[in-house]
């Protein structure tokens, strides 16, 4: 289970990176990055998964005393929450850039933004 998720996550990352590095359209690059981000999230959650255990939420069926034996690792989940929010923040920023770049040059081709070099 964890391995499947891990592998999927890695594949998503690679696909996302491939898309981000080969698509010249800025919007598509950003889209590709979100795919890669999803892959990362998947990897993180998968790493914290323990076979046959339940979510780290105590309730009637899961008393505190048994928690250590029955829950999966809560830390990666906490991390992923943060990562998702940060991811969306960066995506939004990139989108703002896309908008602004388009406004200055009327183009969304990344190859058009090469005035600075060398």
């Amino acid at each position: 289970m964890a391995h499947i998720a891990l592998a999927t996550g890695f594949i998503l990352i690679l696909i996302g990176l491939y898309g981000a590095l080969t698509n010249r359209n800025i919007l598509r690059m950003i889209v590709s990055f979100t795919v890669a981000d999803t892959g990362v999230n998947l990897v993180i959650v998968a790493v914290g998964y323990l076979r046959g255990r339940t979510a780290p939420i105590l309730d009637a069926t899961l008393p505190a005393a048994e928690a250590a034996a029955r829950i999966i690792d809560p830390v990666p989940q906490a991390l992923v929450l943060t990562a998702i929010v940060i991811g969306v923040g960066i995506t939004a920023l990139m989108l703002a850039y896309a908008y602004k770049l388009h406004e200055t040059k009327g183009s969304l081709d990344i190859a058009d933004y090469r005035e600075l070099k060398w």
Binding site: A2, H3, L6, A7, F10, I13, L14, L17, Y18, L21, T22, V47, G48, Y49, L50, R51, A55, P56, I57, L58, D59, A64, A67, A68, I71, D73, P74, V75, Q77, A78, L79, L81, T82, I84, V85, I86, V88, G89, I90, A92, L93, L95, A96, Y99, K100, H102, E103, G106
Partner: protein, 233 residues
């Protein structure tokens, strides 16, 4: 073509790296020391039923503060950048097709419900799955729905901004209260931790999470509103 090939080659390298990680990965049978600590101590020390929430709001509260800041920054930047673009005004507005009757009516009905759901999600963050971020996003989707029905609708930027800033300040303030009245920055035990599983438990976590919810909702809304109000580039 050369570029694609190079990218593929490099990604093959990165893939090898990932494969190394994947092959070297063996799931733990038991919780590690950190996780075990959380499993054992969350209930008695923090009083939150949702251990993830306890970690997010308290143990790793500093992360969350940063996270909230990220959203704050993004909202501020997106707002500012787009605000400096030309604003669409009603007079020079090009003709937009009116929204359908169904959508309008539906939204009138749905918006309060969605808002309620959002509040529910973040108020109960310490008990059930979900919390400030999820709740905030749900709040924002209510705004989104309103924008979809009436793209020309105006929201008070000041209100959104004030809500956002106040929430942030409260978050920081509560965190600092922890320094003075409890064990350190963002310690939730400035309020009694109460009974595990009840709404008023887990110290200050519900309060913080509520403000996070408000803040996140305000921030997402502000982004959406800014984007929707901007002229086509």
């Amino acid at each position: 073509m050369i570029k694609r090939f190079t990218v593929l080659l490099l990604l093959a390298g990165v893939g090898t790296l990932f494969a190394g990680l994947l092959l070297g990965y063996s799931p733990d049978g038991e919780l590690n020391a950190t996780a075990r600590y959380y499993a054992d101590h969350t209930a008695p020390d923090i009083g939150a039923a949702n251990i993830v929430t306890a970690i997010i709001v308290t143990y790793r509260g500093l992360d969350t503060l940063g996270e909230v800041t990220v959203l704050f920054l993004t909202a501020a930047i997106v707002g500012l950048v787009l605000a400096r673009g030309r604003r669409r005004t009603r007079t020079e507005q090009r003709e937009l097709p009116p929204s359908g009757e169904l959508l309008t009516t539906g939204s009138r009905l749905l918006v309060p419900l969605i808002l309620l759901l959002g509040v529910y999600v973040f108020v109960n963050g310490h008990l059930t799955p979900g919390g400030g971020f999820q709740g905030g996003a749900i709040l924002a989707s209510a705004i989104l729905l309103m924008l979809l029905t009436d793209p020309l609708r105006r929201f008070s930027h000041r209100l959104i901004s004030a809500l956002e800033s106040t929430s942030g300040l409260v978050f920081v303030g509560i965190g600092l209260l922890g320094v003075f009245f409890a064990g350190g920055f963002l310690d939730n035990r400035i309020l009694p931790i109460g009974n595990l599983g009840s709404l008023f438990s887990a110290g200050v976590i519900p309060v913080i999470y509520s403000f996070i919810g408000l803040k996140v909702g305000a921030e997402f809304s502000s982004m959406l509103v800014s984007l929707s109000e901007t002229e086509d580039s």
